[in-house]
């Protein structure tokens, strides 16, 4: 039997297939405009490899979780990130998930969720904030981190994404080096995430979600938290893996 976990986030749709307690396949797609459509695409992709309703069970999670018609069950992304992270890291600690529109902190003990926090309505400290800023600066996320590494300390003080964007525009207008702006942008996200995590403190942290391959962000988070932040390339699929485990 295959266990299929599908995590439809606001920007990316992640799929993980588990068999005999091992992740044997992952798929990463853009969510696009329709969660329903991407869910169908995922089904077809799996079907092409012989994974079908006959031999698999499906659990959907994430913000588009209700748009997966063939899911046997739906579970929230918080529970799934908890399960998935326990599978990947196997230790007690706090999971940091920086998603497209939500940022979450989940404190894990012996594989159980003890407490979780989520950002409020506002998009500060989420992937959305980074997306708006990279668009404004005309760079990719990887380039943003590379720039920031060589930047000097400046502060972007607005918490609100819209105001922060105008702040960045005026910095560009003042010909502030892009490196410095990039530094300020990443620091702003890091600070917001760290202040959210104050409610789920721990001596170890695990990063999941789309930023888990960004070493610069990991380093800044770890510095601000004053604790080790570990991750693995599979951590991007933590939610999907957790969903698969919930099958």
């Amino acid at each position: 039997m295959y266990q299929v976990g599908i995590d439809i986030g606001s920007s990316a749709a992640k799929t993980a297939v588990i068999k005999d307690n091992e992740v044997i396949k992952t798929i990463l797609l853009d969510t696009g405009f329709s969660s329903r459509k991407v869910a169908d695409t995922i089904y077809a992709a799996l079907e092409a490899e012989g994974i079908t309703r006959e031999n698999a069970s499906y659990v959907a999670t994430g913000y588009g979780r209700i748009s997966v018609p063939y899911a046997d069950n739906v579970v929230t992304e918080i529970t799934c990130h908890g399960k998935g992270s326990h599978f990947l890291f196997g230790e007690n600690g706090t999971v940091i998930d920086i998603g497209g529109q939500d940022t979450k902190g989940i404190s894990l003990k012996n594989g159980r969720i003890m407490k979780f926090v989520m950002n409020d309505k506002c998009s500060a400290g989420t992937g959305k904030f980074l997306e708006v800023m990279t668009n404004r600066l005309g760079v990719t996320p990887e380039e943003l981190s590379a720039l920031a590494q060589n930047g000097n300390e400046i502060t972007i003080s607005s918490m609100c994404t819209v105001f922060a964007e105008s702040e960045v525009i005026s910095l560009i207008g003042k010909e502030t080096p892009r490196e410095d702006i990039a530094f300020g942008v990443i620091e702003s996200v890091v600070n917001k995430v760290v202040s959210l995590l104050a409610q789920v403190p721990n001596d170890k942290y695990f990063l999941t979600g789309g930023l888990c391959e960004d070493n610069y962000i990991i380093e800044r988070l770890s510095k601000a938290l004053n604790a080790p932040v570990t991750t693995t390339p599979l951590a991007r699929y933590a939610g999907a893996i957790g969903a698969a485990l919930a099958c």
Binding site: T76, I78, T79, D102, I113, F116, M118, D120
Partner: protein
Amino acid sequence: METLELPKSFDEFVDARKAGFLKVKEYVENGGHLVGMFCSYTPLELFDAAGVSVVGLCGTSNEPIADAEKVLPKNLCPLIKSSYGFAYTEKCPYTYFCDFIVGETTCDGKKKMFELLNDIKETYVLHLPQSQKRDYAKEIWYQEVKLLKEYMEEKYGIEITDEKLREAAHKRNEMRKTQMELYALQGAVPPAMKATEVMSTLAQGMFNFGVDAQHASYKAKLDAAKEALANGAKPVDEKAKRILLTGCPSTGVIQKVGMTIENNGGVIVCLDDCGGERTQKMLVDENADDILRAISDRYLEIHCSVMTTNEGRVANTKEMCQKYKVDGVIEMVLQACHTFNVEATLMQNMCDDEGIPYMKLETDYSTTDSGQIETRLAAFIEML
């Protein structure tokens, strides 16, 4: 018979609202008197004894908030904005046709809103002490209740006798007992019904003219629930997680929070806002020599976060957690409600000490955060 005018935009109202206006208009035109109120501290027996219907005007809908924000700051509790908004837009028949509104000096936002509300509709404000602690607090509140009594006697040219007050106290007590019975049904495993049904019954009950009609509506719900139970109905899944909902008044979020809890594997077994057991279990001493004092004393005992200090609320919640075999506590704080928001730390500490999972949600009456609220609530229930 006097004829009353309808609001200017009456013709644009939907039918249900039109019907509501016509019903209240007819009541008042036929000599009925109506007073609007906002808070559990309002000494209701006074109005019953004066032969005046008293209805709750707490705004519970997002609809008039945008208009209210033309006058009030955005960063204010939605209950306050909505309440004011209904008066401002003339969209609530009870606010529109009532003789006057009675308020209390509770939180800052409400207290200052009343000053502006008074320009639309006469608003009488009782000066509620900020604490029950001082020896003279009870005396202050007694004098305030007495002033209101005198005010109404003069306004309506009547005498509010002790006898009438005693009768009113008796009727209110009986109604409170019915409410308590209704709440107690949720103690069963699984509970007798979804609490959102109880919440809706209570909210609708507030709009009856007079305590008898209100009591009858609660009694009808109680009898129906008991009968269903006797017939073996089990409307709630045995495995549903038992939730205590505390915090700000919750009528405005029955859908967004209440239904979401109950559609995601939870069931509210204890309503711990100020309309719940904490407040309703307190009865007036009907046989007291000084009945007016007995009434004022009963109301001042209410434990609300507007009081400092307010240990009674958290202590009561702790008791409720045991009584209703609660699996998790959800605290709903309306945006910009500082008193409940700050007091939430004490609630959380109590829950931590007792080992009961706790989550605080800050929200308003809009639907902008419904998706996020659902994820949080569902995840919390999955965690239990």
